[in-house]
């Protein structure tokens, strides 16, 4: 546990600072509300009550997120490989190259089919 004590302390300080700021602002600051202040900030345009599409995300966000996960997993494998690269030597390199090339095929497919285009 010892090495994590500083992390815990940092976490506690961060949390404490955030809490104190919020509380202090609430106590000391002036409170004069009007309609404009409680509106959402939208660069001067009056905010519309609901975003386009009934407040729902279009599917393309989701597609991007899904593809992100696929390559996120690849990264997760790369990290332990990189850490032990010296010990693994050539066979480790070959294994990882095969793995990356295989996943790259998935990337090629996604790219060619326009999965990475936004609209």
């Amino acid at each position: 546990m010892n090495p994590y004590v500083p992390i815990l302390v940092i976490g506690a300080i961060g949390f404490g600072f955030a809490a104190i700021s919020v509380v202090a602002a609430a106590i000391t600051g002036p409170k004069r509300y009007n309609r404009a202040k409680s509106d959402a900030y939208e660069c001067g345009i009056e905010p519309s009550p609901q975003a386009a599409g009934g407040g729902r995300f279009p599917v393309k966000y989701f597609l991007t997120a899904m593809l992100f996960i696929v390559f996120d997993i690849e990264i997760v494998f790369l990290y332990p490989w990189a850490v032990t690269f010296d010990k693994l030597g050539l066979f480790g390199l070959v294994e990882m190259m095969i793995f990356i090339l295989t996943v790259f095929i998935a990337y090629a497919y996604v790219w060619r089919r326009g999965g990475l285009e936004w609209d």
Partner: protein
């Protein structure tokens, strides 16, 4: 926990404090996930359970797994869940699946019985040997130890995982990606359309709002040289939102009669 026959080695006090602080919270959060009406609340509570487990992993000498838990599970998987909830509508609690009817109470009873049985059984278990601990296995570092196993003993499973990744990408594309029937209109297409169109009036581009207008607001149309308003100068977004004011009221009145 009445009968703790499984003496597999006691842990140090800090870990006990950590456990007894976080474990009840994890169980409460899991129960909350089960009970919560709104799916979003369930998702957030599940994220909390996962973070708790990540802390437990780190406390149990599985540093790398703790990090992966946060990066993959809390960071990516739960984010995806939240995206889906945004897609379906945050306030949705509608039923998407029909479970088998009538089995519900029986299944709950069976599941609780199973859980109770398991807890009792674990309580009665005696390992017959003390816990080894991971100090020896982690001498070169947890990530290194894990990597050595991963890339030697389990290398075949590791390579096969790539098939899984491709399947996932294929699945996402097949089910969620609509291929365009028509290709996107590019700059070239647009300029061809401008010059080959019916009139050359807009060949130099549409007028922008506020030019020769009576206000410089974005929702006020530009005035053309003859004094008539140009509705095309207003952004189509405003038009779609219904935020456009009737263009005609901004037009200059013709004054020809007075001059003559």
């Amino acid at each position: 926990m009445l009968n703790l026959a499984l003496h597999v080695g006691a842990t140090k006090t800090p870990e006990a404090v950590l456990f007894w602080f976080l474990a009840p919270l994890a169980v409460i959060a899991a129960l909350g996930m089960l009970m919560a009406k709104k799916a979003v609340h369930s998702a957030l509570l599940l994220a909390w359970v996962m973070i708790t487990l990540a802390i437990f992993y780190i406390a149990q000498d599985a540093l790398f797994l703790g990090i992966v838990q946060i990066v993959v599970y809390t960071g990516a998987v739960m984010m995806l869940f939240l995206f889906i909830l945004m897609l379906v509508g945050v306030d949705s609690s509608d039923s998407l699946v029909e479970n088998i009817k009538g089995q519900r109470p029986a299944s709950i009873a069976a599941a609780i019985g199973m859980g109770g049985l398991m807890v009792t059984l674990i309580g009665r278990a005696s390992l017959g040997r003390s816990a080894v601990g991971l100090v020896a296995a982690n001498t070169n570092g947890n990530v290194q130890g894990l990597a050595e196993q991963l890339f030697t003993k389990y290398v075949w499973a590791f390579e096969v995982i790539s098939a899984l990744l491709i399947t996932a990408a294929l699945g996402a594309m097949v089910l969620a990606h609509s291929q365009k029937v028509r290709s996107r209109t590019g700059q070239r297409d647009l300029s061809i359309a401008r010059f080959r169109g019916d009139s050359l009036a807009s060949a130099a581009g549409l007028p922008s709002s506020g030019v020769f207008a009576r206000h410089n607001a974005v929702d006020v149309p530009a005035l053309l040289p003859d004094g008539s308003a140009a509705p095309t100068s207003i952004s189509s977004v405003l038009k779609a939102r219904g935020d456009m004011i009737e263009s005609a009221i901004f037009e200059l009145q013709p004054k020809e009669e007075e001059e003559n």
